[in-house]
């Protein structure tokens, strides 16, 4: 019951973290002389810039600034309270700054503190009218954008890519919308990986647990009954007693089945458990308390 209640509490606070960092924003495109392109909400042709969120999280850039002057980084503040200023994963938004963009200047995207420059883009002096300068995604995960050296036909509101760049998720959405291919592939790989581990550790386990050695010893050495018979014969030959038989039989048993190694041929030695005077363990000092 307590666990249920605990989880019910957790359930009531199903919280989604908006992992946002302004550093994930870039100025992805800018158009200075916009005479026949897109129009703003008043129907006017004006300079525009495009902001892209290159991360997989949501970023709220309300309160950030756009400027073309390093000495006045707060030239235009992106309005607060506008829900469209929250950019989702790899989304793009067109901004209409209050000033005209002049070719040959550098545009700055500035953080909410009015000091930290998040990103810049240089507007070429020879940028033709109704053409834009843009940054193009160069990698499949869209984290590496580079400025395209040549003026481009504007694509406001669309991700600037080489055309053939597709993220893993988009590729799966396109080619495997129901997910069965990925599921079957993944299950096969998980089973395959653990199956290989199983095989390896079955073999190594058999080796280390002495199964193979036992099998080998059964072929190369005497069985337990044979070991006992040898022990009795040896004892009788030496005129020994029952205790000797037991000791020899135990030694043979250990030698053949428990992997007790003896370096001397034809001799089985039962060593004392007491360490020698030169044993390492005797040289350790007692801990000082």
């Amino acid at each position: 019951m307590r666990r249920l209640l605990s989880t019910a509490l957790l359930l009531t606070v199903t919280l989604a973290a908006a992992a946002q960092n302004l550093s994930d924003l870039i100025i992805s495109e800018a158009c200075a002389a916009n005479f026949s392109g897109i129009v703003d909400e008043r129907g006017q042709h004006r300079s525009w810039i495009e902001i892209t969120n290159k991360s997989t999280g949501t970023v709220n850039f309300a309160g950030c600034f756009i400027s073309d002057s390093p000495s006045d980084l707060k030239k235009y503040m992106i309005p607060k309270g506008d829900l469209s200023n929250r950019l989702g994963s790899r989304q793009v938004r067109v901004i209409w700054p209050s000033f005209e963009i002049i070719p040959g200047t550098t545009l700055y995207l500035v953080s909410t503190d009015g000091k930290t420059v998040i990103d810049t883009i240089e507007i070429p002096e020879d940028l033709p009218a109704d053409m834009s300068v843009r940054k193009v995604a160069r990698d499949v995960r869209r984290i590496d954008f580079r400025t395209d050296p040549s003026p481009a036909v504007p694509t406001p509101g669309a991700m600037n890519t080489d055309g053939d760049i597709e993220s893993g998720s988009e590729r799966v959405a396109h080619h495997d919308p129901h997910g069965w291919t990925l599921t079957l592939t993944s299950v096969s790989v998980v089973f395959g990986a653990l199956l290989i581990l199983m095989i390896i550790f079955t073999i190594s386990g058999n080796t280390f647990s002495g199964k193979y050695k036992k099998r080998l010893s059964r072929h190369s050495g005497p069985s337990e009954e044979e070991a006992a018979a040898i022990a009795m014969a040896l004892s009788e030959y030496n005129g020994g007693e029952d205790a000797d038989i037991a000791a020899i039989a135990l030694a043979l048993h250990l030698f053949f089945s428990e992997e007790v190694h003896d370096s001397e041929s034809y001799r089985i030695t039962i060593t004392s458990a007491v360490p020698r005077w030169s044993d390492k363990t005797r040289n350790f000092r007692k801990p000082v308390k």
Binding site: A17, T56, G63, G88, A173, V187, L195, L197
Partner: protein
């Protein structure tokens, strides 16, 4: 006098009182409640106390631009949050888990490893369901990993694939891990007969030190070569285990399994809590994530139990048959799901101890979920 009043009025605009919303208050109250439950009732205190306090921290209303919020670049909280966002903390937690985990049960009974693979069906079942519910593939992958029953893995993958859903996924994963006994027991009883539950399994053999040392090296090489995208998790898990088993790096293993994992757990709890926002409170998407998370646990448990039953069909020697009650332990909520196997097994036969046998699929499940996370990251990242 008027200047003082103006200054005070200006100061008022900076205070939390002036910027407070109802959402902030609700979230702060929930945070306080979490802390209370963690301390007074001791319900998952290692989880609830840091997350609860983090929720309070993250929902303190403030004047924007002070550069102190968790989402403001360069702030202290933002720097700490990078550990979650960039996926630094989960591998460090895996290092500690590796240094704490004894893989002997798995090494001594390799055939039980595959149960850990079967239980990962929960991940992919939830992935399919999430896609059917309209989630994008990357979001569905992040939701599916809840079925891996592994908090750090869930945070790691969701931070990479769907950071917006990370809070809901993390809270969901930890909730259902706490609920493992409640969720798994009825499924285990429903899918097994009394005769099957009475199966006694032999005690695992003792494992030599050499085997324990070889395991993390071979295990890492095999899994990392197959799924390189799982390298951060798998590498740290096996590295931590090597520190433990080598016997010559006890200090490092002790640090990884105590101080380090405690520090990282504190930071991950605090920052995940602080990253939660009132405006996303009880969103429909988050509730769906909780529903899918529950289903993923159900699928994972059922898959593990049914897999054992299928395997038993091919085992002729009755002494070598596997008790299906350890199938649930493939869900890698270590060691809770193995304990459930033990408890349910003893309910049927008090002399039947399944814990040591259940630990094998349990730790195999940890490896399996890390491999699954690597696969999803490779395909969907």
């Amino acid at each position: 006098m008027s200047q003082i009043l103006d200054s005070l009025q200006q100061f008022w605009q900076f205070t939390g009182f002036a910027n407070c919303t109802w959402g902030n208050i609700v979230m702060i109250l929930i945070g306080v409640f979490f802390i209370t439950m963690g301390i007074v009732k001791e319900w998952e205190p290692l989880l609830l106390v840091p997350i609860g306090f983090g929720m309070i921290v993250g929902n303190i209303p403030m004047f924007p631009g002070l550069n102190i919020g968790i989402y403001e670049d360069g702030s202290v909280l933002n720097i700490l949050y990078q550990g979650v966002k960039q996926g630094w903390y989960p591998p460090l937690i895996f290092l500690g888990i590796g240094a704490m985990t004894d893989f002997s049960a798995l090494i001594s009974q390799p055939r039980l490893i595959l149960i850990g693979a079967a239980a990962q069906m929960g991940i992919f079942g939830a992935y399919l369901l999430a896609l059917a519910c309209g989630f994008a593939p990357n979001e569905a992958g992040a939701i599916g990993i809840i079925g891996g029953a592994d908090g750090p893995t869930a945070i790691f993958l969701s931070s990479k694939l769907a950071p917006d859903l990370m809070g809901a996924i993390a809270v969901s994963a930890y909730s259902y891990m706490a609920l493992v006994p409640v969720i798994q027991r009825p499924i285990m009883l429903a899918l097994t007969t009394k005769k099957e539950r009475l199966i006694k399994m032999p005690k695992p053999r003792e494992v030599s030190r050499r085997e324990k040392i070889i395991f993390p090296i071979v295990g890492f090489l095999m899994t990392a070569f197959i799924v390189p995208s799982g390298l951060p998790l798998l590498g740290m898990l096996f590295f931590g285990n090597l520190l433990k088993e080598s016997g010559v790096t006890k200090r490092l293993a002790n640090t990884a399994s105590s101080s380090l994992i405690d520090i990282v757990t504190t930071l991950i709890g605090l920052t995940v809590g602080a990253s939660t926002q009132a405006d996303k409170f009880l969103s429909g998407k988050s509730l769906m994530i909780f529903g899918l998370g529950l289903l993923s646990f159900v699928i994972a448990t059922a898959s593990g139990v049914l897999f054992v039953k299928i395997i038993n069909l091919f085992i002729k020697n009755p002494e070598k048959k596997i008790n299906p009650l350890i199938g649930n332990a493939g869900v890698s909520a270590v060691p809770d799901s193995a304990r459930v196997s033990e408890v349910v097994g003893r309910e049927t036969d008090p002399s039947n101890h399944l814990l040591m046998n259940a630990m094998a699929p349990n730790v195999a499940g940890v490896i399996g979920s890390a491999v699954a996370a690597g696969i999803l990251l490779g395909f969907l990242g």
